[in-house]
């Protein structure tokens, strides 16, 4: 062993302080999922109490496929994000990436199906953009809470690719929180479905990540390396 390595080991041992261990990944996953599903339940309960029109999607309808693809995306993104936060969990990361790839394939397929049936810009009703924003925000705003919880965990774990971990950590709750919007939205336009619902987990994650990342990098400069 070289003298310098020897000296480094001695210094690291001298420098050693007790550390607070990271919580187990299973526990973090459960907390993010429970938080997101709790918010979904709250939104559905609110819609039910306020007599909002919401539909039970027919089996194998576009809405049902959308909810299923988003649920798959949520599961994969959560596995990927958690695996990316801790060294030695490559198998979890790879499984998550595989699920995300399958889910994205489904999202792209649904998107093409919807846009193929779209009659064009002339068919857009006035105010469609506002409605689309409202539908997207209906998922993004509540998803900020579980995404923030994950960001807090990620800031402690200090992953190598912090932006990627945050992005997937935000996709996970968004994938679940789009369900009430899909169920409650009666707007018939296909473009609205694609932009306001189908792509919301991805667009919303980009928005949440672009807010959380600078805050995290400023508050934890060590993450910049």
């Amino acid at each position: 062993m070289t003298e310098r390595t020897e000296a480094l080991i001695a210094e690291l041992a001298r420098d050693l302080q007790p550390v607070r261990r990271l919580p187990g990944l299973g526990g973090v996953a459960a907390r993010v999922a429970i938080l997101a599903l709790g918010l979904v339940a709250a939104q559905l309960a609110f819609a039910w109490l306020s007599n909002s029109p919401w539909r039970k999607p027919a089996f194998a309808s576009v809405d049902a496929w959308t909810i299923a693809a988003h649920a798959l995306l949520a599961a994969g993104a959560l596995a990927f994000a958690l695996g990316a936060c801790v060294p030695g969990r490559e198998r979890l990361t790879r499984s998550g990436a595989l699920l995300v790839a399958v889910a994205l394939g489904a999202v792209v397929w649904i998107g093409f199906e919807r846009l193929a049936a779209w009659p064009g810009l002339n068919a857009l009703a006035p105010g469609w953009l506002g409605t689309t924003f409202a539908c997207s925000l209906g998922a993004i705003v509540p998803a900020a809470l579980p995404a923030l919880f994950f960001a807090r965990f990620a800031s402690r774990a200090a992953p190598r690719r912090v932006a990627l971990a945050l992005l997937f950590g935000a996709v996970a709750p968004l994938g679940l929180l789009t369900a009430p919007g899909v169920l409650g939205c009666a707007y018939p336009d296909e473009l609205h479905h694609v932009l306001g619902h189908l792509l919301t987990p991805l667009l919303g994650a980009l928005i949440l990540c672009s807010i959380a990342l600078p805050v995290l990098l400023i508050s934890r400069p060590s993450l910049r390396a």
Binding site: E3, P18, P87
Partner: protein
């Protein structure tokens, strides 16, 4: 073969126990763990990097990364994959740093660095007034790198840890500092 693998898993189990103790602040367990993993790290890194001097720097980087990431180890989980990921990341960092260095500074060779580390200053010799002035004229980062290595006599890895940068970055800073010092001191000599 199965005896070998069971020996390795038994060893990694023991390392996991030492790491869990280290997380609770047990310095002796930590020091024992680091001493035990260094030969394995040297094999792991050496198989991926050909240069022996660079490999030792990477091993030191792995130890520093392990120190920073020690809270992420989950007791009860296999220690080997956790350590290997940290080591693999350090090797990737070394490759990336080498690529960047080759792009920016083609003249920066390891041989120069080693020579520079030994040549310009001796810790036992007092810093002359001219040297002190020249040091003061360096940018802060370069001055810090030169001082940590040659005045405080820290190892490159220790100096890097103290400065909060990677070993490669510290070497680059120190190298630039030496070049600037040589220019400053050489220029004055010619003026004289």
């Amino acid at each position: 073969m199965s005896e070998q693998s069971s020996g390795a898993s038994h060893r990694e189990l023991a390392w996991g126990g030492l790491m869990a103790a280290a997380q609770d602040g047990d310095s002796a367990a930590y020091e024992a763990l680091l001493h035990e993993i260094v030969p394995a790290l040297r094999v792991f890194v050496g198989a991926r990097l050909r240069e022996t001097s660079a490999a030792e720097d990477v091993v030191q980087n792995v130890l520093l990364s392990l120190h920073r990431a020690r809270h992420t180890y989950e007791p009860g989980r296999p220690f080997g994959p956790w350590l290997r990921t940290i080591a693999r990341n350090a090797v990737f960092d070394a490759f990336r740093a080498r690529g960047k260095r080759a792009e920016r500074e083609t003249a920066l060779a390891d041989a120069d660095l080693i020579a520079d580390e030994r040549e310009p200053f001796r810790a036992d010799a007092p810093l002359s007034a001219r040297m002190t002035q020249a040091l003061a004229m360096l940018p802060r980062a370069q001055r810090e790198a030169v001082e940590l290595i040659h005045v405080r006599e820290l190892s490159v890895a220790e100096a890097a840890a103290r400065a909060g940068v990677s070993v490669s970055a510290l070497k680059v800073r120190a190298h630039r500092g030496y070049k600037a010092l040589r220019l400053l001191l050489g220029g004055r000599e010619r003026d004289d």
